[in-house]
């Protein structure tokens, strides 16, 4: 589904992503872990062609990410999700629907479906300035799952949410996993990752330190957090 081949991204003298190669298979629920500045968000942004790699090649279903066709099957939730303040949740989702080719009744039905999924029915006509952070996040998630994407890229989807919000998002994700969607989750909350993902990669200073199934990474008596800290400390020594 996703193939990264010797991908490097350099900002000035800082190497954010350092010669990374890996593939993510269709249907995988993949977590990208790492401390701040590890290069996770840079990698995610390269998948969407928001930034170009300095070297290397990235394809999604065989299509280079520089081709907008590659984004036809992608749903994306940004790390700091922002909705234009003059739009309502409904207006925002209708724009997304329009851009993926849905119109009229089809768009209305699909928007209704995703609003139901993220429990935002009844609040969709309010302007986004009236939304709490959690509500904005749920509208962002609704936009990401609009149109049944095959690949979902979620950059810190539960950051700043309260426990109820986190549980709601987890339920939505579990529901999506059952439908065979490929998910890339970029998160700091390791306990959540452990609950919701199949495979994980730990990034540090632009490199992938380990990449395997969570069952293989986390041994008996350990948590993902223990493993994560162990790898980072080893690198720092």
């Amino acid at each position: 589904m996703i193939s990264l081949n010797s991908v490097t991204k350099i900002f000035g003298t800082f190497t954010a992503v350092d010669n990374i190669s890996y593939t993510i298979e269709a249907g995988d629920h993949f977590a990208l872990l790492g401390p701040n500045g590890a290069g996770k968000t840079t990698l995610v942004r390269m998948l969407l062609d928001f930034i170009k790699p300095t070297a290397g090649r990235i394809t999604i279903s065989g299509v280079p990410v520089s081709d907008p066709e590659s984004r036809k099957q992608i749903g994306y939730l940004a790390e700091q999700h922002v909705i234009p303040p003059y739009l309502s949740g409904l207006g925002y989702l209708m724009r997304h629907a329009s851009l993926i080719g849905l119109s009229g009744k089809n768009a209305a039905v699909e928007v209704d479906r995703v609003l139901e999924m993220v429990a935002m029915k009844g609040d969709e006509k309010k302007k986004s300035v009236a939304y709490s952070k959690g509500m904005k996040q749920r509208i962002g998630l609704a936009a990401a799952i609009l149109g049944h994407p095959k690949l979902l890229i979620l950059d810190e989807p539960i950051a700043g949410l309260d426990p109820i919000g986190i549980r709601q998002v987890r339920k939505i994700l579990e529901n999506l996993y059952d439908k065979g969607i490929t998910v890339i989750l970029n998160s700091h909350l390791l306990s959540e990752v452990e609950k919701t993902c199949k495979t994980a990669a730990i990034m540090y200073k632009g490199k992938i330190l380990i990449r395997d199934s969570i069952r293989s990474i986390v041994k008996d008596g350990e948590t993902l957090e223990d493993v994560f800290i162990k790898y980072i400390e080893n690198e720092n020594e």
């Binding site: 928001f50 170009k52 907008p68 036809k72 851009l99 119109s103």
Partner: protein, 269 residues
């Protein structure tokens, strides 16, 4: 519908949501209507009474240019924030996380802003046209066509401001563009004055000094205004250099659009 057209339509809706847009439109129309008093009085020049139609036409020509200059300011204010506002309010991510080419986004935003301003200006010119028609019983031929002609100037201002806003603060990009227009107005306006028959007869011609090459090639915003005026007054245009001002400006617009697209394609979001 193509994503380019969708983004252009979104842009029109987004710009029209500002209450200030309607306030500006109403104030502008009121200003234009206030001028209608000029069409009624009795004017005597050198002891001869000038008829109403002549006065109305002359006033309308002046107001035509005043509206255009006012539009330059309005357009540059609207255009300067297109990219920075989209980046800040999440619109850029909204568009580019979907199967949208960057050129569709850039040109969609520009086309939407241009279409809106074109209609705004056309409404003002239409108000003048209808006022003169009802007051004098004679429509001004070419007035509305001239309005459409000068809309190319608005497009030039939009692409210029948008391009510069990628490299400099928003307001500075608008001021810089106004500076470009001002230099052109001084250069081309001066040339038009020198070409005037009265000035020619009063000033001894200097055979060695034609306009410098940069003045011939400079964006001919003023000359497009002069061309529009020549359509209204049905007079001959004295273009500077071998190229028609519309061609000159079209080339500049294409060039700046190309540079804008190249720069925007490299932009990291």
């Amino acid at each position: 519908m193509n994503n380019f057209l969708k983004i252009a339509a979104f842009t029109i809706v987004d710009q029209m949501r500002h209450k200030s847009f309607y306030v500006l439109l109403v104030v502008s129309i009121l200003f234009v209507l206030m001028i209608r008093g000029c069409y009624q009085g009795e004017y005597i020049v050198n002891g001869k009474q000038i008829n109403n139609i002549t006065i109305a036409w002359q006033v309308s020509r002046i107001v035509f240019q005043m509206i255009a200059v006012g539009m330059f300011f309005m357009v540059s204010m609207l255009a300067m924030k297109i990219f920075s506002r989209d980046q800040a309010d999440g619109s850029l991510i909204l568009f580019l996380s979907r199967p949208v080419f960057r050129w569709q986004y850039v040109f969609g935003r520009i086309a939407g802003t241009w279409a809106l301003c074109l209609v705004f200006m056309f409404l003002l010119h239409l108000t003048i046209f209808l006022t003169v028609w009802t007051k004098t019983g004679a429509p001004i031929p070419g007035y509305l066509a001239a309005s459409l002609v000068i809309s190319i100037n608005l497009l030039f201002v939009i692409v210029c401001v948008c391009f510069l806003s990628l490299f400099m603060p928003d307001f500075i990009s608008a001021v810089f563009t106004m500076g470009i227009l001002l230099v052109g107005f001084i250069s081309d306006g001066g040339q038009q004055i020198l070409n005037n028959e009265i000035v020619k007869s009063a000033v001894a011609p200097d055979v060695n000094t034609g306009p410098a090459l940069w003045r011939i090639l400079y964006p001919k915003v003023f000359m497009v205004q002069a061309y529009a005026d020549s359509i209204i007054s049905q007079s001959r245009l004295n273009p500077m250099g071998p190229f028609h001002p519309m061609l000159n400006l079209s080339v500049f617009i294409l060039l700046i659009m190309t540079l804008l697209l190249i720069s925007f394609n490299k932009k990291e979001i």
